[in-house]
Symmetry: D2
Subunit: 434 residues, 4 copies
């Protein structure tokens, strides 16, 4: 095949030489990713972040291609170059099962994008599966097992999924680029210069310790600054309450939902096929929400309207011990006519920026290993005091969300709202009676 | 109002100090722009170019703010600082009437985004109008007239709309950033340093000639490289034929379209209100096309599927004199079972990169004027040989589009396809009998 | 004065509106800074880092101008705008006393660039002083006291010199840009958005905590990755030994040094005037070293040649406890004919990335304070776990330098060199008998 | 050899795998390039442009490496991969003979950096020659002939020297980066994607026409905006007059020059060896000029002081027809006590941005050829109207330089200066009597 190329603002040019890869990209299941935003509700906070999962998946493929090219050329003694096409395919397809507003949607409808990813790769109905089978009958299984963490070759698996993998490397750079928040930038070229296949996985030459450290810190900062942004989470919370309301109404309003949002019916009725899942994307969901704005149900139409027109809820942080005290706020919200089930929410966001390998925990992490001159290995956090600080501890916050109206004291309810404000100090829940 | 700020990857931070501007941004008509891609079908070619009209409009406002800040501070002798808020408002709202896939859509349904822009600003039904009226009862009219080129103060008008205005400056930088094509970059800071209000419009200090020249060339290159890209136009052509088919089918299939694409009915029936127009956006259109894929009409479902799954038509360029000879190609296409009305298309794209003022033509252009040390004015193309070359001449090409299948000679029709290929040389129409 | 502008790759354009500033820049003492590299010996490691102190000083002025413009405009209630010109002048001149290869030179000749800075500002002989006096007779004293940390207004002083000041902000960005090491980048625009004058100094709005944290980490990484780079320190060590040898030889070889390096004589004889100091710059020093390559003294000519032709010493790190054990290495070096006084060196580099205010230590630091919504102050390291980790602890290493020849085992001395290598493991001193 | 790497701000990382290349870089003749600025006097205008010829030569090597890597891998049918090391060596060494302030210096002392380049490569005395001979006895000759345009393989020669070669590509990007003037940027990655070896030279795939066009325009803009900047040429003119004065004085002041500027004596006496030439660099020259500031000759000391302290001459443009009329200005300059031989100058700067191959002219240019799908070739200017405009025509200006004092009318000579100003309009010579 003549080399094809994609213009990419993050990696400049993304070349494709393998017909397999090119055909996967052109499959309908992969093209669907153009209609799903990479960062979901974050685009409401960072208006530049309207990039799609399509662009991210291409980027992950590109990094896999760069790494396997290096491994093929320089480390063929310890790296099996027959694994390169598999690695690139798994990289390209690792997120193929993502859907619209996945995080929120999955919680409400008990779907799971990782399961869907496996189905898309393994179902003989999909174009993806058909294309993969051209390599060999068991190639779809191999790709699926890499993504599923059960593939025998740990080098391949760790490239695709570990604490420093091609997925994370691409999304940090890409999300930085499109949000405009520079925190996610790190020295990709240097990391690619020091990455090494070792006996049972991946390591990094110790010379590159600071580049790897910088990557860990960049990831931490992106979580704190971008992924956990309170305004984005306000949109998630709104979406969650909106879908919760629709689910609640459905049994009583089947007709309304069948007309306005046909592709959601299987989800309301809990009988979802792969095809149903693939019918949904950001545009379809937003179209449905726009029709819901005409609903006779005041809560449904109001929440839909708030979501479409970006009327975000406000929030405060709170300490764990105050969880039950938030009831006081919910009561005031209710007194003002807002049903707290749909007009308030808790949102907890915590990330574990790095951890060493802990065989006893569920989903133990593969620690990052640095290869020293004499061939010995040192775990990253033993070399970097900054990574040591982040290691094994979670970072994030707890937020209580409520309507913006609670803070605008220009109406009949000024007194109740004043009372509400007494519980807030420096944007944090404060119990005045303490 | 406390200053608000938007993180923007192109301009870094976009501050908003005026409550008017902030409220306009938060209106539902402005938020709708989040759901409309700035470059429409170009995002199918440049996968990073998924940025919205929302981000562009914010960027145009930002540049208007920078220019008027400079004018207020340095040139208050010749610039009326009372015009600054008006300038910023017009900048923010200049594209408020844009809809989904505007170029193609408008041609088929005879709508016009400029007319809609005027309506949104002037209709007492809109949030935009209500907010503008807070300044003064005639403020909406003033904003509309600036956008409409009828405002008395030519300084304001030329800032918003001329051959070098805040609109173009933002879209060149923004489209460059998101496509990843660097051709549109120019030295914005320098241009802003040399921009000057003059008696009856805007000029640029002659010191900045090369920065202005560079801007003109950048714009030319973006047209040639990005906006006129054959693959993007292939998607436009596909969309046009798809909508043409739907329009043709509608009278016979009212039921089908009413269920699958309710918000398009007023357009099919040619009785469109402002509200109907505002109901459409990229997501709604794509959702409809996805449902059309289930149509019993083979042409409609096939074209919808090609659009959604990005199966682009191929194209060749042709000379004007060969227009009638293309019939030979259309015939072969038809022989292979593709209705040429829906499976071929002509697409002509020409741009006039720059022109001097020509009072006798329709829509004469405001030429770019350079201010010399002694106060005299020199028109740009008299100073720059490169701009002189581009001045007054159009650049672009004519393309004939057809299904990709015509070039794949692996089936029963290989012979007819071979004949088709005889008319193509270096991707250009070639008449072998000449 | 008509506004002047300097094209700067880091800050794009640096405008100058004040005639005072413009005249200071054009003084001969300031122009001298063009002939002194900002990073001294680092340019031998990072070949792009050939930028001068001139460019850094302009950059510091620029940042002072941006901050004081913001303070003048937004915080005139708590900031005295009469201090702005003083702040900008002190920013511009804060490094005016720097000389060629300052760090090494000062240690050997007991000069001090801070003292010289004071002299240049205060001596009636200099153009700088003459220009400053045009403002008022005591203006030179005020500028000197700001730089000297004795000025009464702590807002001004902290802008110029604290743990987050305009000097550091510029050098991190500038050294990043010119070395090509991206580690020093941080979100300058955000930091400038959150900087605030407070009663007795400078604070940052708590919203900007992550931008300030990022700045501290960037600075730490630049120290580890760039400023403490072993190869740059190898050049410092070489320079130090070269000058040590010259100083030792001078009493015996006055004639030679008078002819080859006239402007160093006052330094050899310890009778230095301000004029003598100003006569030296990088080019003069390198010119002298080039003539020393012709010296009859083998050590002087060899070291000069190594320096000019960049034949760096090699190094290993060592633990404090092994300090005396290094004698074993020095002995082998000596056995191979290299005088250890001139062919080996210790080099310790440690930085304290951040510290809280500790009134009892010498030169206590001004801690970084974050301003909360209710007006209260929180010290940075109480908010950021990463800064907390770096706070109060020094980071760096101890290195032992020796000739590269010790590691090339292709000659008569292979056996001795082998012995030498036994003391090295993973580039670290290792005592095999332990 | 273990791969070495240089951190480069323009190309990020520059890897070196060949011991030959690494040793050439470490030779004393190549290290000398660290002490010579790439842009000479331009650094007085663009203070960031302090980058050395060392960095440019590394960059040219890097681009040669990238191109030959592509050729080795993809076009080994038409490209002889044995030529790759030669190409990289010639790229690295193409400017090895450059000296301090070459343009001005060469004109006055009739040296020639191209001749010196040949000598350094061919003289058995140099380290460069010794290293090259390790490949084969005739390798130095081959490298020299590539640089000398006499090598048989035109592919190699055109890569090193043509209208689009690795030299120009690096300097445009590098000079853009360090000056901060973005005009020189072009899409390097795209150009490298479309470059092709052909039968008797180099061509570019027609797909890349706009990238090549953009490169030509970028080069044109860099000449107009950066390389021909009037202030930089003012420094050249000053330097030229300073050296002219020294040359004039030398016969009468041998003692003075022998003490102050020993390495210039062979040049004054016109008996220069290669070693003499290599002794000079920017630092040595500036050091000499600093000592000349103490000369008893008022003109020499004044011009030296103006150069060192950057007191630039002012200039106006003039038309060719006015050449003789400039005598009127020179007379006024003389009347005010400035010897016009040393205090005025003409400076003509013209560039031919592109030309087609013209076999009859001296040094005919190799035109840029675009390779079409059917294998035919089209010359660039037949495809690009912008390049057509620039083709075959020179661009630049004529300037007359004089002391800044002529424009400052605050003294006894105000009347004469007023007369001087009558000849100037919009910074151009104007003959009032016309």
């Amino acid at each position: 095949m003549k080399e094809k190329v994609f213009r990419d603002p993050v990696h400049n040019y993304i070349p494709v030489e393998d017909e397999l890869i090119y055909d996967l990209i052109n499959s309908k299941e992969f093209q669907r990713l153009r209609r799903i935003k990479q960062l979901g509700s974050s685009s409401f906070t960072f208006h530049g972040a309207e990039h799609s999962r399509f662009s991210h998946c291409l980027g992950v493929y590109y990094l896999a291609r760069r790494v396997t090219n290096i491994f093929d050329k320089k480390y063929s003694d310890i790296w099996d170059s027959n694994e390169s096409l598999l690695t690139m395919s798994a990289a390209l397809l690792h997120d193929i099962g993502h859907g619209a507003y996945s995080h929120t949607f999955e919680r409400l409808f008990e779907t799971n994008h990782e399961t869907i990813t496996q189905q898309i790769i393994l179902s003989p109905e999909t174009e993806i599966n058909t294309i993969l089978r051209r390599v060999s009958p068991d190639f779809p299984d191999k790709v699926a097992s890499v993504i599923n963490h059960t593939y025998a070759n740990k080098q391949v698996e760790q490239l695709i999924s570990s604490q420093i993998d091609v997925d994370r490397m691409d999304y940090l750079l890409r999300d930085s680029y499109f949000t405009g928040a520079s925190y996610g930038e790190f020295d990709l070229t240097r990391v690619l210069r020091v990455i090494r296949p070792i006996e049972n996985g991946i390591a990094f030459s110790r010379d590159g310790m600071h580049a790897v450290e910088d990557y860990i810190i960049s990831r931490y900062q992106m979580y704190m600054q971008v992924y956990f942004h309170p305004a984005s989470r306000a949109m998630e919370v709104l979406l969650q309450n909106l879908l919760k309301r629709a689910k609640y109404l459905y049994p009583k309003e089947k007709e309304f939902f069948t007309v306005t949002s046909p592709h959601l019916i299987p989800f309301f009725e809990n009988r979802v096929t792969l095809e149903d899942y693939l019918n949904l994307d950001d545009g379809v969901m937003n179209t449905y929400f726009q029709t819901w704005m005409q609903s006779a149900d005041k809560i449904l139409s109001d929440l839909a309207s708030r979501f479409i027109n970006r009327k975000v809820f406000k929030s405060i942080t709170f300490d764990e011990k105050d969880l039950s005290n938030l009831e006081k706020l919910r009561k005031i919200v209710k007194d003002l006519g807002f049903d707290p089930t749909y007009y308030t929410a808790l949102h907890l966001n915590f990330d574990l920026p790095y951890d060493v390998y802990k065989p006893d925990v569920q989903n133990p992490r593969t620690q990052i290993e640095m290869l020293q001159e004499d061939g010995s290995i040192a775990e990253l956090s033993t070399l970097s005091p900054l990574v040591h600080t982040l290691s094994g501890t979670t970072h994030g916050d707890r937020r209580f969300y409520f309507p913006k109206e609670m803070l605008i004291k220009d109406d009949l309810f000024a007194e109740a709202k004043e009372k509400f404000s007494h519980y807030i100090k420096n944007k944090h829940f404060y119990n005045p009676r303490e």
